[in-house]
């Protein structure tokens, strides 16, 4: 049986690992370095079937394997086989994750692990033993605790009440001149190779404490020089050591009371003599001289030496270098240096293995998603939802709103019902606007502020009865707003019931000068007036109709059970066919609202935007006894504030959003939103000035722009109220 090593055949026998077979063939899996054949070092790692940094000592040989040695200098080439269309690449990585929930996971099936597992089982505990010898390659232990395991078939996530690390102790590698020659093996590896019938030739066994250096010819060891000056010729040098190193990398990854270490992995061993020459870190090719250099530059702590020299950050994650690095630092400092922190993964993983069962944040589809697609919508992701950006012609959609009638899918808005004896008190505290004087059937625009008085969301408060309200929030802010409202009401201990309706209610905005007429065609004889709302059947479907306006035209939001969204949408489209009804997407909506000067939270606002900075003091009633943010607003009311959101107009096309605003040569702010308004014949913008004195005339995109009052369009609001 054969596999290929650098395209040359290598014979193997049953039970061989790739590394054993390679050594049997008289070669080295890399280009040199002592072999442990226990997975502790990276000196046998190679590219196996296209996966680089594979430990060949843990890889069973099988016919057809393609093994390729890494370059002697530098790393293996990156394989950049990018998918032809990354956007359409499958969401599934190629590797599955399986999960197990167990009482105890014991890592290591050696003496200590076996004994601990037996003791735990005798106590009636459910025990899962994981050992690389059985194909369970533990790559990390995380808080939880969670043990991540690579198996030959899949990744395995073990959720255990308790994790016992019983990984034993490793032999110490030699660090001296010549330690990267071929033909050097540790004592355990020599035993394994002999048991596999590998001819090691003439051997010399040397204790690490008595070792001076290795000498060789053509990259292969031929002599061992002892500390006492003796020299012995050999084909294979066998390194034995009286001391060992705890295999505690997994234990150093996690601080969890339910993770413990037993056996030699928990034992303290004497450190080897401080290294004076040779490669300390074969993985990253770091020499003792490199350590000395970073030490001399002031990196005089083990963690700093590690970071500066990258010793311990390679394939074996300190499996080889740790005892020598500790010895180096201890010798300098005069006190024993503790091991450095361990971090997952302890084994090299492919991206597919690391990303197995990791998914992108999901984006919801509204119930109208398929309707939008049928109408040719370009969908995009906004606020956690797939939403129509346009239906192919944003200007046509714009004019449909300004001159006719249009539908917008606003199902994504946050929606909430609140009731209870303390509901008015709760809303008075939540919002800076007066709530108590909203009459049933009326609604009010509200800001949502945090304790610092910064705007975090906005929406509407619709009063349905004395103790029942419907609240709306922005699409992107809905989830946070729900948590915000619940948290505060819980904190205050008020008697309020809260039901989130964001996903349960669809909402269609019927907007435009013909919106009222369209509603009359579908059964609403008398649509509500501006800022009124009521429940009524629309095309036979129970709706909560809210009259408001974000577009600047008469607008009716029809909130309804989401199961009826398609039916309602189709009925409205059909009823408005002779009105040339046209749905509008976000692209048109953003333009329409900008003409009205309406801010979009998160687009025009910043994280510390107060109502004053947004010119929205009118939405804050400081004469209320209290509301979230009131203290901060009162404290800062008389302080100077250089930041202010302004409306701007300029001739010609609108500049790019985000464009800097200049006064002379000085940048004083940036443009937040822009639109070339066909109905106004000018570019309209919202933008920030952050330096006083605020200028009336600025330069944007190399052209003069003028501060203008908002709303730019229909400043009296006559169209919205029509």
């Amino acid at each position: 049986m054969r596999f290929a090593l650098d395209d040359q055949p290598v014979d193997f026998v049953d039970g061989d690992s790739v590394a054993v077979a390679v050594v049997r063939s008289g070669q080295h899996p890399q280009h040199g370095g002592a072999l442990c054949l226990t997975g502790d070092c990276g000196n046998c790692s190679a590219d196996v079937d296209g996966v680089p940094f594979t430990r060949t000592c843990l890889t069973p040989a099988r016919p057809g394997l393609r093994v390729r040695r890494h370059p002697a200098v530098g790393g293996p080439p990156l394989q950049l086989d990018a998918p032809k269309n990354p956007v359409q690449s499958p969401v599934h990585a190629g590797v599955e994750v399986h999960r197990r929930h167990v009482d105890v996971a014991v890592i290591g099936a050696g003496e200590s692990g076996t004994a601990e597992a037996a003791r735990l089982r005798a106590d009636g505990r459910e025990v899962l033993v994981l050992d690389s010898g059985n194909g369970d390659d533990v790559v990390g232990v995380y808080p939880g605790p969670l043990v991540v395991v690579r198996t030959p078939e899949h990744m395995l996530h073990v959720h255990a009440h308790e994790v016992v690390i019983a990984t034993g102790a490793a032999e110490v590698h030699p660090v001296c001149e010549g330690n990267m020659l071929r033909g050097i093996v540790l004592a355990g590896a020599a035993d394994l190779l002999r048991s596999k019938g590998v001819d090691l030739g003439t051997t010399v066994t040397v204790d690490i404490a008595e070792l001076a250096r290795f000498e060789g010819d053509d990259g292969r060891v031929s002599r061992v020089v002892f500390a006492d000056g003796r020299t012995e010729a050999c084909d294979t040098a066998i390194v034995a050591s009286r001391t060992k190193a705890p295999r505690d990398l997994l234990a150093r990854m996690v601080s969890d009371p339910n993770v413990r270490v037993v056996g030699p992995a928990a034992q303290r061993f004497d450190l080897p003599p401080a290294p004076v020459d040779g490669f300390v870190c074969p993985c990253s090719k770091i020499t003792v001289g490199d350590l000395q250099m970073v030490w001399d530059k002031g990196f005089q702590h083990l963690e700093l030496v590690k970071r500066a020299a990258l010793c311990g950050t390679g394939t074996c994650q300190g499996g080889v270098c740790m005892p020598h690095l500790r010895s180096f630092v201890s010798d300098k400092q005069g006190v024993e240096a503790a091991p450095f922190t361990g971090r997952p993964a302890s084994r090299q993983l492919t991206i597919a293995e690391a990303a197995a069962d990791v998914f992108l944040d999901p984006f919801r589809r509204s119930a109208l998603h398929d309707e939008h697609l049928k109408l040719g919508a370009q969908m995009d992701r906004f606020g956690g939802w797939w939403r129509p950006w346009n239906y192919g012609d944003a200007m046509r959609e714009y004019w449909a709103v300004r001159e006719g009638v249009s539908l917008g899918d606003v199902s994504t808005l946050g929606k909430m019902i609140v009731t209870g004896p303390d509901v008015v008190e709760a809303l008075e505290r939540l919002y800076p606007t007066t709530i108590a004087d909203i009459r049933p059937g009326r609604s009010r625009y509200v800001l949502l502020l945090n304790e610092r008085g910064h705007l975090i969301d906005d929406g509407m408060v619709c009063r349905e009865s004395d103790d029942r309200f419907v609240l709306t929030f922005t699409s992107g802010g809905a989830a946070f707003a729900e948590a915000w409202v619940r948290d505060w009401i819980d904190t205050w201990g008020l008697d309020v019931r809260i039901m989130d309706r964001t996903i349960s209610h669809g909402a269609i905005n019927v907007t435009g000068p013909l919106a009222g007429a369209l509603l009359q065609r579908v059964g609403v004889a008398e649509p509500p007036k501006f800022l009124q709302h009521r429940h009524a059947a629309v095309a036979g479907i129970d709706c909560h109709i809210m009259r408001l306006s974000f577009t600047g035209e008469a607008s009716f939001e029809l909130h309804h059970p989401v199961a009826h969204s398609v039916e309602l949408w189709q009925a409205l489209m059909e009823a408005g066919r002779d009105m040339n009804i046209t749905p509008h997407g976000l692209q048109a909506l953003f333009a329409l609202r900008l003409e009205k000067g309406h801010v979009i939270v998160g687009m025009d606002t910043e994280l510390d935007s107060t109502p004053r900075r947004l010119n929205m003091d009118w939405a804050v009633k400081m004469d209320k006894p209290d509301f979230i943010g009131r203290t901060a607003l009162a404290r800062t009311a008389d302080l100077p504030d250089r930041r202010r959101l302004f409306g701007f107009t300029m001739d010609g096309p609108a500049p790019t959003e985000g464009a800097p605003i200049y006064v002379g040569d000085r940048i004083v702010g940036h443009v937040a939103s822009t639109f070339t308004s066909p109905i106004l014949g000018t570019a309209v913008m919202l933008g920030w000035q952050k330096h006083e004195p605020w200028a009336d005339t600025v330069t944007i995109d190399g052209r003069p722009a003028t501060v203008a009052h908002t709303p730019f369009y229909d400043p009296e609001g006559a169209r919205a109220r029509a």
Partner: protein, 144 residues
């Protein structure tokens, strides 16, 4: 394995004590999703002893009925948290990055998600899509 069905019912928010004593008319499966909130799939009428209770029709969820072998094969490996062993039982949490509710009956598991995530369920769990013919049966009751 079947295409999903839209789950129609009532969502109720009330005091915990009131929910403990609530009564629902219909062929009902009640999910107690919070101490103060239930979704009663199949319910058409609710009597809740709380004058401030909010009772609303709920049509936002879809469910896939899975045999236990199907569930083990397609869903369980995406669930990081311990699954309940008693039957029936409700479990809620993230699976494959999606918020799901799992209703464990004696002979099947109902995987419930908001309809806005139905397409993600199809992709992530490799479950059947929400067929058009089923989509129109929006008043169909779930049978326990």
């Amino acid at each position: 394995m079947h295409a999903p069905e839209r789950l129609d019912g009532l969502r109720v928010v009330a005091t915990p004590d009131a929910l403990d004593h609530a009564w629902f008319e219909g062929d009902v499966v009640v999910f107690r999703i919070a101490h103060d909130e239930v979704i009663a799939f199949g319910a058409v009428v609710a009597e809740v002893p709380d004058e401030h209770a909010i009772v609303e029709r709920e049509t936002a969820f879809v469910g896939w009925g899975l045999s236990y072998p199907e569930f083990d094969d397609l869903v369980a490996r995406h669930v990081e948290w311990p699954l309940p062993t008693e039957r029936p039982a409700l479990a809620q949490g993230m699976a494959a990055g999606l918020p799901v509710k799992l209703w464990f009956e004696h002979d099947r598991v109902l995987l419930v998600v908001s309809s806005g995530f139905a397409h993600e369920v199809v992709e992530r769990f490799r479950l059947p899509a929400f067929a058009e013919s089923v989509k129109k049966q929006d008043t169909r009751r779930m049978r326990a």
